[in-house]
């Protein structure tokens, strides 16, 4: 084996983070994994929403092994463990990517160690071009580790009502305090044209940051893809949301397919945010 072949190449880690639940992290993560796989990349999707992760639900997978098995293996064999044994393959229309499922039982999820979770990601980086990680919506020890080791953090938000905006602001400030490069944290607005009383322009002013990317709302298509267990970008390639996800993947993979949307137009003035943040 030549020295060039021995060289390990560490893949890109893209994690999805938010300060509110149900903003679409899992759905966008799945579609990003599918699109990268469609483009020919080696992709693994990791479910680090350990207790109530939905990756396997949304893809209708019944994994034989999970992160819990990876933890057991690491604890038994140390660095010689093979994470590939714990992965579940997903395939749709001849496009394939791997999934590392969250533990099956809540008590297993509760006992996953952050150091193990980190080791697993590092191993996966040696095997895949892209490691896509779904998370929970809080600054937990696990998530802080993920934020540290991620190449790109997609900080996903929706503009629905005041408490969500308050938490998006708190999250944005906290990420700034943690000192991450602005290039690393990418603020992405999901469901941009959903019914709301707050303008996304006001939110950008409040966050002192423009949305890196804006994804349109298509609740019906998103719900259907969950029911079908198939990613939108593979099953419904011609809808606007699939198009937008491809655009975002293009930006991330430096193979832009164009289509960055303008931030949603200001619809009406709102003084609500002023009440919250002065």
């Amino acid at each position: 084996m030549s020295s060039a072949e021995q060289e390990t190449i560490n893949g890109v880690v893209i994690s999805f983070f938010s300060t509110a639940s149900s903003v679409g992290k899992t759905l966008i993560g799945i579609n990003m994994a599918a699109e990268l796989a469609r483009q020919g990349a080696r992709v693994v999707l990791v479910d680090y929403d350990l207790q109530f992760g939905d990756v396997c639900n949304y893809l209708q997978l019944e994994p034989e092994q999970t992160l819990m098995d990876a933890q057991r293996s690491i604890q038994l064999t140390g660095s010689s463990f093979d994470v590939r044994e714990c992965l579940t393959p997903y395939s749709c229309r001849n496009i394939m990517f791997a999934v590392l499922a969250a533990p099956r039982k809540l008590e297993e999820a509760y006992n996953i160690e952050t150091s193990v979770a980190q080791k697993v990601i590092e191993h996966l980086q040696g095997l895949f071009d892209y490691v896509i990680v779904d998370t929970t919506s809080m600054f937990s020890e696990l998530n802080l580790m993920l934020l540290d080791i991620s190449t790109i953090v997609t900080y996903l938000g929706v503009v629905d009502f005041l408490p969500t905006i308050k938490n998006m602001k708190i999250g944005s400030d906290t990420l700034r305090t943690l000192g991450y490069d602005s290039e690393k944290i990418r603020l992405v607005l999901n469901r941009s044209n959903a019914k709301t009383r707050i303008s996304s322009e006001d939110v950008q002013k409040l966050l002192k940051q423009e949305f890196y990317y804006v994804l349109p709302n298509d609740f019906q298509a998103a719900s259907q893809s969950i029911i079908d267990g198939k990613p939108l970008v593979l099953e419904h390639q011609d809808i606007a949301l699939s198009d937008a996800i491809r655009g975002l993947v293009g930006l991330y993979s430096n193979r832009s397919l164009g289509g960055v949307e303008e931030p949603a137009r200001r619809e009406h003035k709102s003084s609500l945010l002023g009440r919250l943040f002065g």
């Binding site: 207790q51 109530f52 939905d54 639900n57 809080m138 408490p163 308050k166 009383r197």
Partner: protein, 375 residues
């Protein structure tokens, strides 16, 4: 008429110190003071006190309180002690005391204690509800805020809310509060607090609804230890007939501790076209460790469409557990109300949302008469 205080304190120095505080507190008059309880019992009645401050650290305190109650049936007895403990304070109240104050106290603490206890007395046997959700975005904060308002209005009892969603608690936003103190300050001081001294950390929304607001920033979570949270909950249980606790989603030390200290844990999930019922079923499995879980755990679903009995039964069948309440989608009402700093139950009392909240309130108020099943 002001407060005429009879002070009973065995320690001479403490007696002096407390006497000075009482004398300089506007509205309070120290009419008699004794080191020996037997003297107070024998002689104090001639001074016609309307408040008795009774040093009650000893084992025989409940017996002493009963003696004072016999001789002074119309006088409020407030016990004084070195450190507040939930179990001993409860015994004192059961014996006839109206409240408890840690000594030495300041003028403000004395006034607060008398205000808090002279009218309604310290709460014993109140109910604590923890609102648990498997994942976030369950609608539970909206539910708690509206339940609290409706519960206080209908029961006329005091309702306290603890926002223990320590990173992203929203209670202050819901009630448009700018809290001067939060759960972080209460946790810092928890070891030294009693019901009287904890009360000011809660922000009043109305006369009977008070909120202990959550942290101002996510990193402050480290300042609220589980031990201090547990102590805050135990003390607050003496202040509020109904204590409602908002906790972070999923199983974590905070949500587990609050659930353990509750009389009832309400599991809340929002129907959103995903796997909410499956998550709820998994969460219920954990709560089954409680031998009385069928009585102690209730399931509530929000954003149920159509919000009718058939849906409720269908969800219950899918869940394998009875659904105690369903709440309709009320995005417009709730956000309109929240934007004006009000609760949806106040604005649209006849709306389906308000009626669903009202049904839940009926169940909570009828708790001891199997209200959860009968309503």
């Amino acid at each position: 008429m002001g407060f005429r205080v009879l002070l009973v304190e065995p320690d001479r120095l403490m007696l002096e110190q407390l006497s000075m505080t009482i004398s300089k507190t506007p509205g309070f008059e120290l009419v008699a003071r004794y080191q020996a309880a037997s003297d107070a019992l024998g002689q104090g009645t001639v001074f016609k006190p309307n408040i008795i401050l009774l040093g009650a650290d000893g084992q025989k305190a409940p017996e002493l309180i009963r003696d004072f109650r016999r001789l002074y049936p119309d006088v409020s007895i407030i016990c004084m002690g070195e450190q507040w403990r939930a179990d001993s304070a409860a015994h004192l109240v059961q014996a006839g005391a109206r409240g408890y104050i840690v000594k030495p106290f300041t003028s403000d603490e004395l006034k607060n204690a008398v205000e808090a206890f002279a009218k309604s007395g310290m709460v014993v046997g109140g109910e604590t509800y923890t609102f648990f959700s498997p994942k976030g975005k369950s609608g539970k904060t909206t539910l708690i805020a509206n339940l609290a308002m409706e519960l206080a209005r209908r029961s006329r009892a005091k309702v306290g809310i603890i926002d223990a969603d320590l990173q992203f608690g929203d209670m202050a936003v819901f009630f448009s509060l700018s809290p001067t103190s939060t759960i972080v300050e209460a946790a810092r001081d928890a070891e030294f607090l009693s019901p009287v001294t904890l009360a000011p950390y809660f922000m009043p929304v109305t006369e009977n609804v008070h909120v202990l607001c959550g942290t101002r920033a996510p990193n402050l979570i480290d300042r609220v230890s589980i031990a201090s949270l547990e102590r805050i909950i135990r003390i607050a249980q003496s202040l509020y007939q109904y204590l409602l606790i908002d906790v972070p989603p999923a199983f974590n030390p905070t949500s587990i501790a609050a659930s353990e200290l509750s009389t009832t844990t309400i599991l809340v999930a929002m129907i959103n076209g995903g796997y909410e019922i499956e998550h709820m079923r998994e969460a219920l499995e954990i709560f089954k460790d409680w031998p009385d879980y069928e009585d102690r755990v209730k399931a509530v679903f929000t954003r149920v469409t159509p919000c009718d009995r058939a849906s409720q039964e269908e969800i219950g069948r899918a869940l394998g557990f009875p659904v105690a309440g369903i709440i309709p989608n009320a995005y417009e009402e709730v956000s309109t109300a929240a934007d004006s700093g009000m609760m949806a139950v106040d604005i649209e009392a006849s709306s389906p949302f308000a009626q669903s909240v009202s049904k839940l309130v009926s169940k909570i108020m009828g708790r001891h008469s199997s209200g959860w099943r009968s309503v």
